[in-house]
């Protein structure tokens, strides 16, 4: 990558299909690879951003994904989706990073900001009346989701993100992470259970706080 060589001017490169750019990269045209990076960096960043909040970690995952892709381009099957191939590398990098960290602290309300606690309090109280999250609340929903996901194991977190955030099918997830479909289904069931327990615990904490507040008010 030290020496940049290109056989075609940039505007022409952007019009070429992925497979042609892959071939050019393999022949030593680094400008072609940079073009591929430009095409799919947003997708790779979005996958990493689903898993991690810190921008440094997100960038590190993206760098690792493209570096691995650069050295493994020979194994990419022409005609297959390059986006899916890169997504597979990115998801596996995220999963490995999660497993490396293995940080699974107990959930406490103090982990969340006051706004987030109030928002969750409000939402959990409305769960029984089946109210939906508004579009304007996306940012806070995202922050809260990240904090909830932080409390789950690497497997549970990966499965929930791939199923409900990335919206991959069970078969696709099985291919992405290299698990059997049965394992993906079992893991998904366990992950949903873990997430439900987390939310129920928050709900209980809030109910207890409300009861205490009501008791002190009555006294």
């Amino acid at each position: 990558m030290a020496k940049i060589t290109t056989t075609l001017p940039l505007p022409e490169l952007t019009e070429l299909p992925d497979d042609r750019l892959v071939e050019m990269t393999l022949q030593g045209d680094n400008q072609a690879f940079e073009n591929l990076v430009g095409r799919y960096s947003r997708r790779v960043f979005a996958i990493a951003r689903h898993f991690f909040r810190q921008p440094e970690t997100v960038e590190d995952i993206a760098q690792e994904t493209f570096t691995k892709a650069y050295f493994a381009l020979q194994s990419y099957q022409r005609g297959a989706s390059l986006e899916y191939w890169l997504a597979r590398i990115a998801v596996n990098n995220c999963y490995d990073e999660l497993r490396r960290r293995k940080s699974r602290g107990e959930l406490t309300v103090s982990d969340m900001t006051e706004d987030e606690v109030n928002w969750m309090d409000n939402k959990l109280a409305q769960v029984s009346v089946n109210r939906h999250i508004q579009i304007g609340e996306r940012q806070i929903a995202s922050e809260v989701t990240q904090k909830l996901l932080d409390k789950l194991s690497a497997e549970d977190r990966t499965i929930l993100i791939l199923l409900h955030a990335e919206e991959y099918s069970v078969a696709e997830i099985a291919k992405l992470i290299g698990w059997s479909e049965a394992k993906v289904k079992i893991r998904a069931f366990r992950a949903r259970h873990a997430m439900r327990k987390l939310l129920q615990r928050l709900q209980l904490i809030e109910q207890r706080k409300e009861r205490q507040a009501a008791a002190s008010f009555a006294a």
Binding site: V127, N130, R196
Partner: protein
């Protein structure tokens, strides 16, 4: 029944949270980080250097292994030749002649002479 429906509602809420998180991420994620390409180029160059170092190490090790293998082969065939010549002496055809040689040998004569001297003394 009520408990089950509450469970389902919490599950639906969790799914909603994840979908909103995803939509927010898709919306907010930039094309890439500033100077991302520069850092990526540097990282690939670094990885290439490491790969070249290991490649050099592996090639050197291969050369050493080939050289050691050649030396080992020379010793092996040398030993084979030596064993071949020794086994030629000890083939069944030569065992009898070897025993005859032993009977005629100086060692046997010397020991017989020593025995005779001792017998004469007695």
């Amino acid at each position: 029944m009520k408990r089950t429906s509450l469970k389902e509602q919490i599950d639906q809420f969790a799914v909603q949270l994840l979908r909103h998180h995803s939509e927010y991420v898709q919306q907010e994620t930039p094309e890439s980080a500033p100077y991302f390409m520069t850092r990526l180029r540097a990282r690939i160059a670094q990885e290439q250097q490491v790969a070249q170092f290991w490649e050099f190490g592996v090639i050197s090790a291969q050369k050493w292994l080939i050289a050691l293998g050649c030396v080992a082969l020379v010793f092996f065939f040398g030993n084979l030749v030596a064993i071949g010549t020794q086994s030629h002496r000890l083939t069944p055809m030569t065992v009898g002649s070897s025993l005859n040689d032993l009977e005629d040998s100086d060692y046997v004569h010397a020991s017989e002479e020593a025995l005779n001297v001792e017998l004469q003394k007695e």
